[in-house]
Symmetry: C2
Amino acid sequence: MSSPGSQPPQRVSDVGERVLIERIRKRVPPTPAGLIVAIGDDAAVAALDRGTLQVLTTDSLVEGVHFDRRFSSPADIGYKALAVNVSDVAAMGGTPRLALLSLMLPEAITLAEVDAILDGLLEMAAECGVALAGGNITRSPGPLVVDVTVSGSVKPRKILTRGGGRAGDALYVTGRLGAAAAGLAWLRAAASSTAPESGRAHVSGPEDAHLAECVARHCRPAPRVRIGALLGRNRAASACMDLSDGLADAVTQIASASGTGATLDASLLPIHPGAISWFTAAGGDPLAASVAGGDDYELLFAVPRRRKGRLRAVVRESRGIPITRIGELTAERTIGIVRGERIEPLPAGFTHF
Amino acid sequence: MSSPGSQPPQRVSDVGERVLIERIRKRVPPTPAGLIVAIGDDAAVAALDRGTLQVLTTDSLVEGVHFDRRFSSPADIGYKALAVNVSDVAAMGGTPRLALLSLMLPEAITLAEVDAILDGLLEMAAECGVALAGGNITRSPGPLVVDVTVSGSVKPRKILTRGGGRAGDALYVTGRLGAAAAGLAWLRAAASSTAPESGRAHVSGPEDAHLAECVARHCRPAPRVRIGALLGRNRAASACMDLSDGLADAVTQIASASGTGATLDASLLPIHPGAISWFTAAGGDPLAASVAGGDDYELLFAVPRRRKGRLRAVVRESRGIPITRIGELTAERTIGIVRGERIEPLPAGFTHF
C-alpha cells in the first residue's frame, strides 16, 4: 500500500482514527453468518452454536518485549499477534471464531505499516477460520502494542485444561522444539554483526534452510488449531497446554495443575535440526536452549494409557505434523529430564519480567 | 497492601509473572456458575445461556493518553478500564458477564500499585456483576497499559446498534454532560499551579461539591448498564451509543450509521453544574466544551414516537438517573445545534490521534 515516488509515507496521525477504522473495515473479508454486528459499533455481537461453551483469551505483543521491528515485518507482527491467541484456544481443545484487535500506535507509524499489520492478521485469520469482529485503536506514547482477544467455542466435556493429567499419562508434543528460540538467536547475532550505520531496517534471512525455517517460525508461529480441536473432540488427551513460554514451563504448569510430577527423556525430544546446528555452533547446549526457549506454540499434552487408540486417530489426521512421546507424568511431584545416566532438573522457561 | 515501615515498595520485577497471577487469582471473588475455566489456564471457558448472543468489546487505557498518574490513582485506573468496556456492552443493550485483563507493566511499578489496579477493577466488576475470567500480564518498556476485554450477552432482537435510527426519532441522553471534561480541566489546572518540587504525587480534589463530582466522574465513570439493558429489553430505543468520545461524536456516529441528520437543542442539554461553573469561570463556552468533551460514558439513544410509552417504563426504573430529550434525528443529513435564533455546527469530539 505504500505509494511509489518520493512522497513521504502517510502517518497515522495525518488521517485519524475514523479513517483508520474505515480502512480496516474495507479490508476485512465479508462478515460470516453468526456475526450479527461486526466492526464499527460499540461492540461486536455474535451468535454461538447452542450447546457450546465460549472460550476467551487475550495476549499482547509489545514492541521491545515480544518483537523487534528489525526482525519482524509489520505483517509478521499482525500474523503472530493473532496466532498466539489462536494457539491458546487450540490448547483448550476449542475452535477459534472471532478476534478483536486492540492497536496502540506510536506517533511515527505509517499507514502502510498499519495496513501490513492488518494484512498479516487477516492472513492468519483466513488460515484458521477466524473473523475479525471489532477492536480498538489508540495512540501510544511508547511502543507499538498489538493486543488481540480471541473468542472460540468448544463442546462441554471436550475442554482440555492443564489440570486433567494423572500419574502414568504419557506426555506428547507436536512439531519440533527450539525452532523459534534458534531463529531469534540467529536474528540477534545477524543484527549485532550488521553495522547500524548501514541503515538496513530489516535483517534478511539465513541461507541455511533449517535455520531459515527457524527464523520463519519465530516470526510466524504455526498454532496447532486442528490438532487441538481433534484432541478435545475425541478426548485423547487428559491435559493440554501450548508452549508459548517453552517446554520446561509447560511441563511444570501441567504437572503442577494436575498435582503430579513429570519426567522427560532427553533422547526423545524432537529438537529442530536448525536449533541443533545453531546452538551447537554457538557453543551452547541445544537441548537446554530448546527446552527453555519460548515462542514455539506447539502443544504439550498428556495421554492416559487407555486412550492411546484415540491418539492414533489424531495422528492419522495430523497432516504430517509430528506428534512425539517425550516422557510421562509421575506420582512423585518433581520435574526432571533423563539425560543418559543422569536425571537433571529442567532448565527454566521464559519469564515476562 | 503496601507494607508499613521504611522498606522500599516491592517491584513487580522482584516477584515475576507467576506470583503476580497467583496474587490476582487469590483476590478475585469465587468463580460464578457458568464460568467453567477461570484464571490460570490457556484461556477462560464460559457457558452462555442458550438463545442468547455474545457481545464482545475491548478498550485500553494507556498512560499519557487516557490517564495521568498524578490525577488517577491505580484503583481509579483499574475501575475505569473495566467501566469503559462495560459501557460499550450497555450501549448495545447487553448485559456484561466476563472480563479479561491484559496488563502491560512498566519496570518501576510496585506490587502495591498492581494490587490497587486490581482492587479498582474488581470494585467495578462487583458493581456490574462481571467475573474476571483471565487475561495476560507482560512487561512494558513504555507506559502502563490496562487493556480490558468484556464479553456480555444479549437476546436476539434486543440488540441496540448505532444504525437503527429514523428521521423523526427523538434523541435522549442519560445523566449530565461535560462533567468528565470539566473534572479533567480542573485537575490539569490544579497540577500546573502546583510546584513540581513539592513532590506531591497526587492532586487532591476541589472543595466545590459540583466540581468534586466532575473530578470523580473523570476518574471513575458510571457506565449505564441498567438503563442500556432496559432500553434493549423493552425495545424503547431504535439506536444507542455511549459518549466515550463526547456527545458531538456520538450524535454524528448515530446519524451517520442511521442514514439521517440530527438537530440538538442547546437549551435542552443537561450540562453538569460543575461544568457550567468551571468553564464559565475559565472564560470558555460551557456548552461547546461539554458537547465536545469525551469520557462522560452516558448513553445517547434515539426513540421513535410510537415507543414513548416504553421509554417512560425505562425512566420509571432508572433510579434517579436523569434521562433528557435533547433533539431529534432529521431527514436532512446535516448535524446542527439550535442555539437561540441560530443553528450552528456541532463542535468536534475527542480524537485519539
